[in-house]
């Protein structure tokens, strides 16, 4: 199992599954029938809160990169890409927050769609970075 699937990288998928899928689903399930509240993922994260989660993921991936034995310029380049995508994910929330605070129209729920797609990018890059780190560790151990 460990030789084929990098276990460390599965941590990222687990985080996404827990916060992005399981928690909203559980909330919805516990409230079902008791109240008329709409607690679907789209409703819960309509302000682009997933983007903030993307920034947190990017920061934790960068901290993980710092502990690896990769050359400094590689760590820096990878960290810049991760932080850029994390910041762009968080900007989906920021844009929506600014629109709401200035009472501007926000009709098509762009924040939810943008934050979901940008979180997917951050998650993919973090996952692949972990796969690459695990691969490098194995090769250097051999």
């Amino acid at each position: 199992m460990r030789a084929w699937i990098p276990v460390g990288a599965l941590w990222w998928l687990g985080l996404y599954a827990a916060f992005g899928v399981l928690a909203p689903w559980l909330l919805r399930w516990t409230r079902k029938g008791r109240s008329g509240l709409n607690t679907g993922p789209r409703k819960l994260f309509q302000r682009g809160e997933l983007g903030l989660f993307g920034l947190l993921l990017a920061i934790s991936a960068v901290l993980d990169l710092r502990r690896s034995g990769l050359p400094t310029q590689l760590i820096l380049t990878n960290a810049v890409i991760l932080i850029f995508s994390g910041l762009m994910a968080a900007s989906a929330w920021l844009e929506d927050y600014s629109r709401v605070s200035q009472r501007l129209a926000n009709p098509d729920h762009r924040a939810w769609l943008d934050s979901r797609k940008l979180l997917f990018l951050v998650l993919s890059v973090a996952f692949t970075t972990e796969v690459l780190l695990e691969h490098s560790t194995k090769v250097w151990q051999q």
Partner: protein
Amino acid sequence: MNPMMNSHRLNAVKVSLNAVKVRLSDSAVLAGVVSLLYALALIVCPRAFPGLLERLFVRGYFFPAITVLLVVANEILLVVISRRRAQRPGLFTPGYIAFLTVTVVLVFRVFVYVGDAQAQLSHLFLRASSGGRDGISSEELLVYAHLAMVSGIFLPYLLVRLTQNYVSDANSPHHDAKVRNAVAGQ
């Protein structure tokens, strides 16, 4: 002139003058999928995939291949975005995206060659003591290739988006005047 007809024409001219509005999330999905496919290739073929990249690098096909792939992927993505929004892409935006993609790949090419030169120099000076590597390692090449692919898709669209924001902020009154002139001309 009928005011209803005038406003209809005004809207039509506005649509034809508008460039394709790019959103950051448009390129995020493609970049994410490419990144996941890259990880999948490495998980399924942990020896063959790095070997293939290294052979391409040694023969000099690595960066030309990445450049062509990324430019084609970005242009197809732009066509898909413009079709989805029923807008015509024009000539400037595809050219700008191709230029930015080539520039991003060039930057990574410089990074890889600098890393390769550093490894060769350390091999030259540390050969007797610790046996430094003769050139860039395939693991470093793997990381650079991944970053070049993700950045080659994400960064050009990010820069296009920033440019569009800047231009629309700067030219908003000018654009309105242009639309009114076009309608008056009709």
